[in-house]
Every structure is written in C-alpha cells, then in structure tokens.
C-alpha cells in the first residue's frame, strides 16, 4: 500500500486528535496507579505533533515518523516521552512510502524491541508492551478485516492489564495495589492503534 503525504497527514492528525480528546481519561487512569500526569503529557506531545503536522507529513514516511518520535521525546517528558518517541523513531528507520503489511510488521517488531531496551521492560509487566505485542501478532497474520482485528486485539489486550501486577513504571511502587486498574500506557497504546485502524478503514 502507498502511504502518501495526504495519508500521512490524516494518520498523524487522527492519532493526535484521539490522544488529545482522551487526555482526561488517561489522567484518571494514571491517578489510580501513577501520578496523574499521563493524559496532560501525552496531550502536550500530540498537540505539538498537530501544530507541525504539515511540515512533518511533507517528508517521506520514514522521516516523518522519526519527526513525530523526536517531537514526542522533546515535548512529552516523563517515561512516556522516551518510550513513545523511541517507538515512532524506530518505526521510521526502515519504512518506505510504498510498504507491505509484512514490512510494517517487521518495522513494528523492531520498534517493540527498541521500546523494551529503552524501558528495560518486557511483556507481562503491565505496560504499553502488553498492547503492542499482541498487535504485532495481528500484523503478522494475513487475511481480511485487518482494521477490525487490530481494534479488537488492542482493546482486549488493554483490558488484560487490569488484573496484572505492575513490575515496571511508577505503578510498581504500589505492589499488589496496582492490581485492578488498567495501565494508562496500555490504554494510550490501544487508542493509538484504534486511531490507526480507523484511518485504514476509511472512517477517519
């Protein structure tokens, strides 16, 4: 598929708007098991993406994804800035404008490894990785209805962080008290995947 300038712009705008409009919900999730700043931080980062979306999407897909990543690193702060920044910067390393699903899956796999290395974390620790990893599984499958499968998988994966005990991140300081709440980073990852799937479906 061809991800041209218009498609890139639509993609970045849709993702940014979804995160911005969900900021309050992310903050509420973070108040329960963190320090209540995830929504405000993510909103600041994606507002910066929105503000420079024309400039960002004018570059080819790889460079524009790196640009989004750098913007997030410099604007979000906290742990989310380096982690989401690393995710987007890594995605931008290998993707050309004309890409196959296999190439996207491989770039996504490399990006997940980069996030793991940056956060010294892994799957099963109640983090964004618990959404990203199942999403990678869907990207590696062939077949029809990819957007719907992405959405369903991301939603279920985020739900599965509720009973988990946090091992990384500020929620880990709570020990067992982190159980029973959805991880805010898992939720923000779900929102981003959901927004991307909306663009793929042509609903955005």
């Amino acid at each position: 598929m061809m991800i041209d300038r218009e498609a890139r712009k639509l993609l970045f705008e849709t993702v940014a708007r979804r995160v911005i409009e969900s900021a309050e919900e992310l903050t509420d999730l973070d108040r329960a098991i963190g320090d209540g700043d995830h929504g405000a931080n993510m909103r600041r980062g994606f507002e910066a993406v929105l503000a420079s979306v024309d400039e960002l999407s004018a570059k080819n897909l790889g460079e524009s994804l790196k640009g989004v990543g750098t913007t997030l690193v410099m604007k979000v702060g906290g742990a989310s800035g380096p982690l989401y920044g690393t995710l987007f910067m890594s995605l931008g390393k290998s993707l050309a404008d004309d890409v196959t699903q296999e190439q996207i899956a491989e770039a996504f796999a490399a990006a997940i490894e980069a996030v793991k290395a940056r956060g010294k974390s892994d799957v099963g620790q109640k983090t964004m990785l618990d959404v990203l990893f199942p999403v990678l599984g869907v990207l590696r499958e062939s077949g029809a209805g990819l957007p719907l499968r992405l959405k369903a998988t991301a939603r279920e994966a985020a739900e599965r962080t509720v009973p988990m005990r946090a091992i990384r991140g500020r929620a880990s300081f709570l020990g067992d008290r982190s159980i029973g709440h959805m991880d805010p980073g898992a939720r923000s990852s779900e929102l981003i995947v959901d927004a991307v799937a909306d663009v793929m479906e042509g609903f955005a």
């Binding site: 702060g77 380096p82 990384r168």
Partner: protein
C-alpha cells in the same frame, strides 16, 4: 482546587521567573531554554546538573549555587524534564570538566537523562539516587525511588566538585553517599497537581499513607492515623532494619516536610526519630529539618538517615550558598 495561580499551564514558567529574579545574586535563567544556571561558573570544574519533575521545591533549583549544583532542569509538575532542556543545561554549565548528572531513580528521569547523556557528546556520568526503603528492591522491578536523600548527595558532591575532583572520583563518591543513605515517608493528605485540579488520591480524615513517595502517588499501606511517637517508631524500624549492621555509627538525620506540615510538627518528629535511633546505634552528629524535597501541598514528612564518615562530614560542613541551603559564607 484552591491555589495561588493564574492558569495551570503557566504555573511552572511564572514560578521559575520569580525564583530566578528573587535569587538573581546566585542564579540566572538559561538563555536557550528554561533551566536554572549558577551565576558564577568555575572554569574546568565538573558541572553538577540535576533535575526532575517540578513540585518538589526547593529541590533542585534551590540547590543551585556555590558548593552545590551548577544547573537544575525543572520538568513539568511531577514529570521528568525532556532531553532538549537537559542538553541545553549541559551545554551552558560545562566549563571543560565534563558533566555529572544527579538523577532520582524514576524511569522517566533515568530515560530522559540517559537520552541526553547519549546525545550530549561530552564526558558525562550519572549518579542515580535510590534511598527510599519503602520500595522493595528486586531485579525485576524499577527499584527504589530517589527521595530526600538526593539533597545529601547533591551537597556532598557539590563540595567535592568545588575542591576540583574529577568526574570519575565524583561519580564514585556520589554512589558511596547514596549507598549510605536511607529514607522513608508518610503522608497525611494527598496533593493537588495544578493541571489535574483534584487531589491525586483520596484519603480519609483519620487515615495516613505509609511508605509514600514524593509525587502524590499512594504508598505501600493505608493505616489509621496514630500518635507521632508510634509513626516515628515505624519509620526508624524501616530504616534501621534495612541498614542492618551499618546503622551503628555517626549519622545525619534529615526530617523533611512534604510541603503542608508546619515546622513545629517536623521538629517534634525530629526529636521522636532521633531518640529512637540512638538505641539502634545511630549517633546523630548532623541534622537538617525543614521542607526541602516536597510534594506540592502534601502533609507529612520523610526521615532520612545517612551514615557518615570523616570525609562526608567535612564535605557536608563545607561552605554552601544556594537559595535553600546556606552556611559557612
């Protein structure tokens, strides 16, 4: 929310402008970005730079000046500063001796300072502080938080840097001071982040949070409020049990308020904690009581015990001139 602010978005910049103006004899605002820079930098001295989320004032900006930090990078409230701010501070503060970052052990801070260290292109090391005993250490977890013990590391390293020690020696000294230091905190209330507009957690009038951090994050346990002597006993037990045999000897005791507890209560807690430390073998020879590493408007306090040797004592006593700590000059 009841706060002396104009708008939640501008609290940090307006507060920082006031800080730099009020202490213009000691610090100035960074030119390229909003960080706090020491006014009189010493050529060739290792630059000590700290930073982290705002809301812990006077940490870190209040510790910029002679005998302590060369620059501080304030992030948004309870949010790590971003690499661009840290890079700008490193560029401005480095006078040829390299840069030592003092970073509290939170993933956001560690990751953002790591990215800056990788990107800065100059000799740079980091001392990570993790003095909070409330968090159990595990190879699988984030590890202990850096809390009020950070100010002891910053003061002692600042004095050593002033003496002209090199980057490697300062990094080793910082790790040694951190390893000799333990803290535990309790909270009577939560705190309200201006951008959130409501308290981070709900707590009843007759409850307290044990093992609390400095970001309004809930602690390990919620218990009924008890008399100060019993609270002090629990805090001393947590610290001395963790120090083990190391608890015997000369020590410094810091009773640190979280922002909304009056000094009278802090001194009361100081006395209660000090009396209980002596039977455990910790002889308090240096003390500090006040609001130094705060959590906005949280009520409560932390106790920090740092086991001292002759060198640490001498460096603690060395002159310092910052907005929040000043003696010997």
């Amino acid at each position: 929310m009841k706060k002396l602010i104009n708008a939640a978005e501008s609290v940090l910049s307006e507060s920082l402008a006031g800080f730099c103006a009020a202490h213009s004899d000691i610090v100035r605002m960074g030119e390229q970005a909003p960080f706090v820079l020491r006014r009189n930098l010493i050529p060739g001295k290792v630059a000590l730079i700290s930073g982290g989320g705002s809301g812990h004032e006077p940490l870190h900006s209040g510790f910029v000046g002679y005998g302590m930090l060369d620059a501080a990078c304030p992030g948004q409230v309870f949010t790590s500063p971003t690499p661009d701010l840290i890079l700008a501070a490193a560029e401005a503060a480095d006078t040829g001796g390299g840069v030592l970052f003092i970073v509290k052990n939170y993933e956001g801070d560690v990751m953002n300072f790591d990215m800056a260290r990788e990107m800065c292109g100059k000799p740079a090391e980091a001392v990570i502080t993790d003095d909070d005993v409330a968090v159990e250490t595990s190879t699988f977890s984030t590890g202990r938080r850096g809390v009020a013990g950070t100010l002891i590391v910053e003061k002692i390293l600042g004095a050593a840097a002033e003496e002209g020690r090199d980057l490697a020696a300062l990094k080793a000294l910082g790790d040694r001071v951190n390893a000799a230091t333990r803290s535990i905190g309790i909270a009577l209330t939560s705190c309200t982040v201006p951008a959130a507009g409501k308290p981070t957690f709900d707590i009843a009038e007759d409850e307290m949070e044990v093992g609390v951090g400095i970001h309004g994050e809930p602690g390990r346990r919620r218990v009924k409020l008890r008399p100060a002597a019993e609270i002090a006993a629990e805090m001393v037990h947590a610290i001395t049990a963790d120090l083990g045999e190391r608890a015997r000897g000369e020590a410094m005791l810091v009773i640190n308020g979280f922002g909304a507890t009056p000094l009278s209560e802090l001194y009361l807690m100081y006395e209660a904690v000090r009396r209980l430390l002596e039977p455990a073998g910790s002889i308090i020879v240096r003390s500090l009581v006040g609001n130094f590493v705060t959590s906005l408007d949280m009520a409560g306090c932390s106790a920090t015990v740092s086991m001292l040797d002759e060198e640490m004592k001498r460096l603690w006593d060395a002159p310092v001139h910052t907005a929040a700590l000043r003696w010997g000059m």
